[in-house]
Amino acid sequence: MSEKFVVSSSPHISSDNYICNIMKNVLVALIPALLMGAYVFGIRAVVLTAVSIISCVVFESLWNTVNKKEETIGDCSACITGALLAFILPVSVPLWIPVVGAFFAIIIVKQLFGGLGQNFLNPALGARAFLLASWPVAMTVYTKPFEKLPWIKSIQDIDALSGATPLAVMKQSGEMSATYFDLFIGNVGGCIGEVSTVAVLIGFIYLLFKKIIKPHAPLAYILSTALFGWIIGYNGAFTGDPLFSVLSGGVLLGAVFMITDYTTSPTTALGNIIGGIVAGFLTVLIRVKGGYPEGVTYAIMVVNVITPLLDKYIQPKRYGGRKNEKR
């Protein structure tokens, strides 16, 4: 009988918290944003999201098959990448755009660097940056809310349906083209998942409640965007509108689902706060002084890149550590 006992080193018990549970909860948190996207832009938003998710899963599975690796699509991380990638696309892009984006996100950004946990960039953001550089026109045409769009077919007469996003209008004229309430609900042009602040906030509260993300990075990012949005105003220093800065564009989506990505964010609270502040500053700087009307993608990508440094120089306060000790 004694041969049957398992011998191993401690600890012998573990929490019932698993990677795939976390990922599934993130997917649940993304549902409100998808529903609002579908409400504002029609069924095409859902089709794009589905194409993006399926492409990501297929590319990940293909990579594993070709390289004779264990199948990893069960951890659901590819689904999240797919959903997030679709959420930061304009609804009018042709359907092959998310397929190309999924290839870039899964194969180039994620798997070539070692797969889950090894990527230095957020795959969805990396893919968006790639798409934006390669097909700048398709990626910057935004349709007005509540237009009747074809479900699947490419949109022919896109100029008739398109309208400038509030950020683009603000950049050109310094005027607000939508009310705060429109921005809050999502009655504006923009990417599929980012238009509705309230939908993203519901996801945020869900993730906080489930203890999947910590509030440090999102709050730091939001507050920093508000602060720098006021300091670096479109019409001169200290004239900006903090509330508009936060509600417009993809700040909320980035704060809740992008900057909180485990792999590409620091592990300490202080590191996350600093990352959030840097992202807020860069977002506003790119918006106001840069060539693009929106800066969330690049701002968060810069934070992704400095994450290893933040984890190296910002360690938690160590028990029994001496003051001013060398790292």
């Binding site: 006992f5 080193s9 401690s10 018990i13 592990t267």
Partner: protein, 443 residues
């Protein structure tokens, strides 16, 4: 009146599973027919046997001793004949020389056993001597000789004496039962230690998942201002010496230092009882309270077990083990050691004996680390376990040093919270050992 509750930073909240045994009174288990007494039951030197095969020994007689300061003698726990002195199974997993005594059932007491006296009539040195002679060690699991703890270097002034009744490991209830059933002895033991350092204040720390123990202790010290019963917020590893000290005194033991460096001495509940008995009756440490629990045992119980009793006998007394037991653990599920053989004897550091089924242990496939940082939040020492694991695998010694791997006390909180089920502690243990070998070579 609101009572202050003490706690520390980091830590985890595992299911405590104490309900299986917490209300079951301690039952004295009769000594078995043969006892196996290992000559190493503490941290420190291996003892030399001072009896020969064929000798008749009396209960309480010293059978193994050493000149080394960091060591305590072991005593015969039954009277009878020495059958063998040979390497035998030991909870640590390696065989250790043990004295095998066949019990004659007479319990003939050694003549050396006589009361030392009440603590207030003794000098500190007499108390410390008596504690060493009684073979008393820290009974929370680590088994560090108690007399060494009570003899700090002259330049360290001890200001706090804390008795550790946190018992933060899941399943274990031995300290809990002792606090309820031997309240007076616990307090007597604490007062003896306070007397050693001439302190007029002592602390007993109890986690607030044991309200009955807190109540019993508070009632026992009613009107006595010299002892404070500290209610600790239930969180693992509250019973860790360093976390306990931080919670109660606000001080932090410096990296690489000892509690005495910040003027604190921490002792275990059962150790206090042993001290009280050693002084008032002269009885050395020959038995201890063991929690026998887990879903793999038929009748979970708390037993007072004679040191040297094989696990098999203890399991039998608890109704026997179930067919599908997967792991046998000495100690708690967070830091305990797995056992492969039920012939292994109970030693001074055996606080619990757990028989766990598949459903109670984890045996999950490791997933890649996603750098979620949950281990960083859980680490009570403020380390970054994910990087320690990575550097240990890469043999990056500078990284290990810069991220302070030697501060890790292997509490396992990081493994517990890891959603990827990484065996972080195992990698850290390997990294620690490699780093220490390398540092020794360099010097």
């Amino acid at each position: 009146m609101t009572v202050k509750k003490y706690t520390f930073k980091g830590g985890i909240h595992p299911d405590d599973s104490k309900g299986l045994t917490k209300d079951i009174p301690v039952k004295v288990l009769p000594a078995p027919e043969t006892v196996y007494i290992p000559l190493r039951q503490h941290i420190g030197a291996l003892l030399e046997p001072c009896v020969k095969v064929g000798d008749y020994v009396k209960k309480g007689q010293i059978i193994g001793n050493s000149e080394a300061f960091v060591s305590v003698p072991v005593h015969a726990t039954v009277s009878g004949t020495v059958k063998a002195i040979e390497p035998y199974y030991h909870p640590s997993g390696v065989k250790v020389p043990a004295v095998v005594i066949e019990n004659d059932g007479q319990d003939t007491l050694s003549e050396d056993i006589k009361p030392v006296g009440e603590y207030y009539n003794l000098t500190p040195l007499q108390i410390i001597d008596a504690i060493r002679n009684a073979g008393i060690v820290g009974m929370g699991g680590a088994a560090f000789p108690t007399h060494v703890k009570l003899s700090p270097p002259k330049d360290k002034k001890i200001e706090y004496v804390i008795i550790n009744g946190a018992e933060c490991e899941p399943y274990l209830t031995s300290d809990h039962r002792v606090m309820l059933e031997n309240t007076e002895e616990v307090i007597y033991g604490l007062k003896s230690i306070m007397h050693v350092f001439s302190l007029d204040k002592g602390y007993i720390a109890v986690e607030n998942n044991k309200p009955d123990a807190i109540k019993a202790l508070r009632e026992a010290v009613k009107g006595d201002n010299s002892i404070e019963i500290c209610e600790m917020i239930t969180k693992y590893p509250q019973g860790s010496e360093k976390q306990l000290i931080n919670a109660i005194t606000g001080r932090q033991v410096p990296s690489g230092g000892l509690p005495a460096d910040v003027g604190v001495v921490v002792n275990n509940i059962d150790t206090c009882v042993a001290i009280s008995r050693a002084l008032r009756t002269g009885m050395p440490l020959m038995s201890r309270v063991v929690t026998v629990s887990g879903k793999g045992i038929n009748n979970p119980a708390n037993f007072e077990v004679t040191i040297g009793t094989p696990f098999e006998e203890v399991a039998k007394a608890a109704g026997g083990i179930k067919e599908n037991v997967r792991k046998v653990i000495m100690g708690g599920p967070m830091m305990g050691m797995t056992q492969y053989n039920l012939d292994t004897p109970v030693i001074k550091g055996t606080s619990g004996l757990l028989f766990l089924l598949d459903s109670e242990i984890f045996d999950e496939k490791e997933m890649p680390c996603t750098k979620c940082g949950k281990c960083v939040d859980a680490c009570p020492m403020g380390l970054m376990p994910l990087y320690l694991m990575a550097y240990s695998r890469n043999e990056n010694y500078d990284g290990l040093k810069n991220y302070h791997i030697l501060d890790c006390m292997e509490c396992g909180s990081c493994c517990y919270v890891c959603p990827s089920k990484k065996k972080i502690i195992q990698h850290i243990r390997v990294g620690k050992a490699k780093l220490q070998i390398k540092m020794r070579k360099e010097n």
